[in-house]
């Protein structure tokens, strides 16, 4: 008899491999790498729109008071969905901008990025998810990958900037 399968663990593998397959397919279909980045961001945005409902239902968290609070909730959401806790750092002086620092994450577990793809943001789905989710709770932000572990940077940094909040 084969050994019992650890379903939680393989789920992570399934997720990472599915995401990897999507990227492979996008690289075949899209004309250039910018297009891949854009498509990933768009997919993430759509996921974020749905995911926020799930997050609010599961965490029953109240309305965010300020951006510090937002950062904490995002941290919590990462913990909940990807089982990693990103660091929150590099606040701007006006407290309207911060960075999420990812030291490791399940999506890049099997990934090596060739030199020819240095302009691709492998994790570009994440800023999209964050932007989409926050938009649904009336917190418009811009989010982008600032540095990427896969490209030799020390860690992966997602920059989040609040826009025209009144």
């Amino acid at each position: 008899m084969p050994p019992p399968v650890d379903t939680k663990k393989v789920n992570t593998d399934l997720f990472a491999l599915t995401y990897g397959s999507i990227i492979s397919q996008l690289l075949i279909d899209c004309e250039n790498v910018d297009e891949v980045n854009k498509q990933l961001d768009r997919m993430g945005y759509n996921i974020g729109l749905r995911m926020i409902e799930d997050y609010l239902a599961k965490s029953s968290s109240p309305k965010c008071r300020d951006l510090k609070d937002v950062a904490e909730k995002i941290q919590h959401a990462f913990q909940m969905y990807l089982n990693v806790t990103p660091g929150v750092d590099h606040w701007s002086q006006a407290n309207d901008e911060f960075s999420l620092i990812l030291y490791s994450n399940p999506l890049t577990e099997f990934v090596e990025l060739p030199d020819s793809l240095q302009t691709m943001n492998y994790l570009n789905i994440l800023p999209g998810v964050i932007r989409g989710a926050l938009e649904m709770v009336s917190i418009p932000v811009r989010a982008w990958i600032k540095s990427d572990h896969l490209k030799g940077d020390h860690e992966t940094e997602i920059r989040i900037q609040s826009v025209n909040k009144k």
Partner: protein, 151 residues
């Protein structure tokens, strides 16, 4: 090292995949299944009776690792055709229990058809896989194995 993640993450990615790249869903499932089986069988011994054992593996270990349950029924005519009966298919359970959305449901089977096909390909088995929604959320997957054709 990542531990467990929430099932809903996979579900959200799947929904968006079906929406954003409808023509490529099966191909992406194929790539995923092919690689996934490599990971899943790392500690396993070689199968005795290749074809039937592989199909049993798909219905038990493979299926439960993805959907937390085994396939409900496996039938075969012993000449390369297998029918997998799934009574509660996760990707359509939340859509409807009746005929509503029936025409939309096949889209949500394509990824899994690809998964099965890719998994079989990794075992060196060339097959055609198609899915049919019978009575939501029940569905069947038809596997036709092409023998004597090299992959």
């Amino acid at each position: 090292m990542a531990g467990m993640i929430d099932d809903s993450v996979n579900d959200f990615l799947h929904i968006e995949l079906v929406d954003a790249m409808p023509d490529k869903v099966e191909q992406i499932g194929y790539m995923t299944g092919y690689r996934y089986v490599e990971r899943l069988t790392v500690d396993m011994l070689r199968f005795q009776d290749e074809e039937l054992d592989v199909m049993k593996f798909i219905c038990r270990e493979f299926w439960s690792s993805i959907f937390h349950k085994q396939i409900d029924n496996l039938r075969t005519n012993r000449s390369g055709q297998y029918v997998l009966h799934e009574n509660r298919f996760r990707f359509i359970t939340r859509m409807s229990n009746g005929k509503q959305y029936l025409e939309l449901m096949p889209k949500y089977l394509a990824f899994t058809c690809g998964l099965i096909k890719g998994a079989l390909a990794d075992f060196g088995i060339n097959a055609t896989v198609s899915g049919d929604v019978t009575k939501p959320p029940a569905c069947i997957f038809n596997v036709q194995i092409h023998r004597g054709i090299n992959v």
